[in-house]
């Protein structure tokens, strides 16, 4: 197991380097030059050259990459081209905001999905299965923004139950600020709930179709201990899916963050793309991609801890 963990950790390094190369390269492939966007059309070539030198655009590409990477590793992502504030600060704020949503939505969506999937799987083709399947199918097929808008209409416009958007003031009491979280979190939890629920159901059915659950009953185990065995067998694929889903949640949903005016990473990415704010784009993508790699690494290790056949 230890060998497996060390090997997986080492394998993550080239992946991270690859990610950084792609992130650096992709942004340079995007049409449009940030300096041209900033400079007035009548700016003299000397001033433009000066600006390029100030942001490091005059150096050869590989030097730009190494410089950017070494600074990025130490947490310095440079200044935003648009408003000259440090990128790291903006990114931190946006990520914390998104993280709040992502963690809560993951807890809500995963637990609801697992519960629905288990209920459906253990009551195959009976009414609890049908009800659970309707809910999970709705979860994966309803468009995010539509849910968000309907919810705003129902809870904030027609009734005055919840605030429609924003995240409240820091001075507000904790419980008041919590209200702002309800609608975005619920909206974001639908998809993880649906996909996790459907996978749990399918996995449980597949496992119950094998011989060993019957053999467990034959040795005298009752419903709950058998459920425990089935859950442990079902865990690896479900964990893999949850890792991916949490990764998507961290990326922030541009649509949901826009509807609820939530200043998260989705919002930040969206704005950075329109402003050609390359340092912000690079930093955001790099950090999110690294999160993804680390998440998958954790999932891999967890899976191997649960299923010994995966330790190869």
């Amino acid at each position: 197991m230890l060998v497996f963990v060390i090997r997986r950790l080492l394998q993550a390094i080239p992946i991270l380097i690859g990610v950084s190369l792609v992130v650096f390269g992709l942004v340079h492939l995007v049409p449009g030059n940030p300096i041209d966007m900033l400079m007035p059309p009548e700016a003299s070539p000397e001033v433009i050259a000066q600006m390029k030198a100030a942001f490091g655009f005059d150096k050869p590409l590989y030097m730009q990459y190494l410089l950017w990477l070494s600074r990025a590793i130490s947490g310095d992502f440079g200044l935003s081209i648009f408003n000259s504030t440090p990128v790291a600060g903006q990114l931190m704020d946006a990520l914390t905001n998104t993280l709040k949503l992502a963690i809560l939505a993951a807890i809500l969506g995963f637990s609801a999905g697992i519960a629905l999937g288990l209920i459906a799987g253990f009551n195959h083709n009976r009414w609890p299965d049908k009800i659970a399947s309707v809910i999970t199918t709705a979860g994966v097929s309803m468009p995010h923004y539509w849910c968000a808008i309907v919810m705003v209409l129902a809870c904030a416009v027609l009734n005055d139950w919840l605030p429609a958007q924003g995240m409240g003031d820091d001075q507000d009491p904790f419980l008041d600020r919590l209200q702002y979280l309800v609608m975005p979190v619920v909206t974001l939890s639908f998809i993880p709930m649906g996909v996790v629920g459907r996978l749990v159901r399918a996995t449980v059915l597949e496992i119950l179709g094998r011989e060993f659950p019957g053999a467990l009953a034959a040795k005298g185990l009752t419903r709950w201990p058998i459920l425990r065995h089935v859950c442990k067998n079902a865990a690896p694929p479900v964990l893999a899916l949850m890792g991916l889903q949490f990764g998507y949640l961290l990326g922030g949903s541009i649509l949901v963050e826009t509807v609820f005016n939530w200043p998260g990473s989705g919002n930040l990415l969206n704005i950075a793309i329109f402003r050609r704010d390359i340092p912000v784009l690079q930093a955001t993508i790099l950090v999110l991609a690294s999160f993804f790699v680390v998440l998958n690494l954790m999932v891999d290790i967890l899976q191997a801890a649960i299923d010994p056949r995966l330790r190869r």
């Binding site: 011989e211 053999a215 009953a217 034959a218 040795k219 185990l221 009752t222 442990k232």
Partner: protein, 328 residues
């Protein structure tokens, strides 16, 4: 007689409800087994022999209904409330499966799986259950048992896994052991080792064993009595000697003549023409009649009843008497 029996099965029937109609995979199986006796249920695939074992433990899916009686130590297993049923399964009534790789949970170690059963049935501490598990692995002759205790099923060879499965089944000293083709998935050399081990353990522990196989040689090797099963029914039961020497049912004869054991050296092996009928579309009369050389009008239209020839010896064939006359 009835009080002595370790298992007493009366009229055991397993009905599967299907969209195409009900089908009886086991149709009125009746037999009783004394303590320490070994009975083999012999039959082709699909004859209902494995379902008989599963039905005896109440282990069929919910679209199957099981009727009849399975008395073990005087109690009807099929009428026990869930908690008592769980106690009986793996307690006095235990089972070995055909494919240990499929029947063992792949993500728990062998030791964990055996200890879990002991804790469940005897309520002792996990540590002492683990000690028992070690002793059991040693009992079934698994080399370096202490290390094997920590192995997962996929880390063992087929024969080793089947030994572990046997250790698991014996964990709580069952009085009745149900063995569902335990040697079919193994190499021939390993098969004989497992058979000898089972025979030895059976004699030492005085268990009654119901052994299911399609292999006539295995049946002859291990059992005291044989029940020949065809299309969900016992067509002939008797002692190994009787059935091997003087089979009365045409199907039993065919089965014996189609194996090297029954056939004569230098002679071509015979085959039974045709294939077993589908259980959902059984012939009106004797289920074997379409394949039987002796079948007449009566066989095609009427289901033959059991003819009791002696204690524990029955045959279900209109021509059994003529067959007996031939034999004598």
């Amino acid at each position: 007689m009835a009080t002595e029996a370790a298992v007493d099965v009366r009229n055991l029937t397993a009905m599967f409800r299907r969209r195409e109609g009900d089908m009886a995979a086991v149709n009125g199986a009746t037999f009783s087994l004394a303590r320490g006796e070994v009975m083999t249920i012999l039959g082709e695939s699909g004859s209902g022999k494995s379902v008989t074992l599963k039905a005896m433990m109440g282990l069929l899916p919910d679209y199957a209904s099981i009727t009849g009686e399975v008395r073990v130590a005087g109690r009807d297993i099929l009428k026990l409330p869930p908690a008592a049923l769980a106690k009986a399964r793996g307690g006095e009534l235990s089972m070995i499966f055909q494919e240990p790789m499929a029947a063992l949970d792949p993500v728990y170690t062998i030791g964990e799986q055996i200890a879990e059963t002991i804790v469940k049935h005897e309520g002792i501490t996990y540590a002492s259950a683990m000690q028992r598990a070690l002793a059991l692995l040693e009992r079934v002759a698994i080399p370096s048992a202490a290390r094997r205790l920590k192995n997962y099923p996929h880390e063992m060879s087929g024969g080793m896994r089947q030994r572990a499965m046997i250790a698991l089944a014996l964990a709580c000293n069952p009085t009745v052991l149900l063995a569902d083709e335990p040697t079919t998935a193994l190499d021939v050399t390993v098969q004989i080792q497992i058979l000898l081990l089972l025979r030895e353990l059976q004699q030492e522990l005085g268990m009654s064993v119901i052994f299911v196989t399609h292999d006539v040689g295995v049946a002859a090797e291990i059992s005291d009595r044989i029940a020949v099963m065809y299309a969900g029914r016992f067509v002939e039961t008797g002692t190994v000697r009787e059935i091997m020497r003087h089979p009365k049912h045409p199907y039993s004869k065919g089965l014996l003549n189609s194996t090297v054991l029954g056939g004569l050296r230098g002679r071509r092996l015979e085959t039974i023409p045709g294939s077993p009928p589908s259980l959902s579309a059984l012939p009106r009369g004797c289920a074997f009649s379409p394949r039987c050389a002796q079948a007449d009008v009566r066989c095609l239209t009427t289901q033959p009843d059991e003819t009791v020839l002696g204690p524990g010896t029955i045959v279900r064939c209109f021509h059994a008497n003529t067959a007996m006359a031939e034999a004598i």
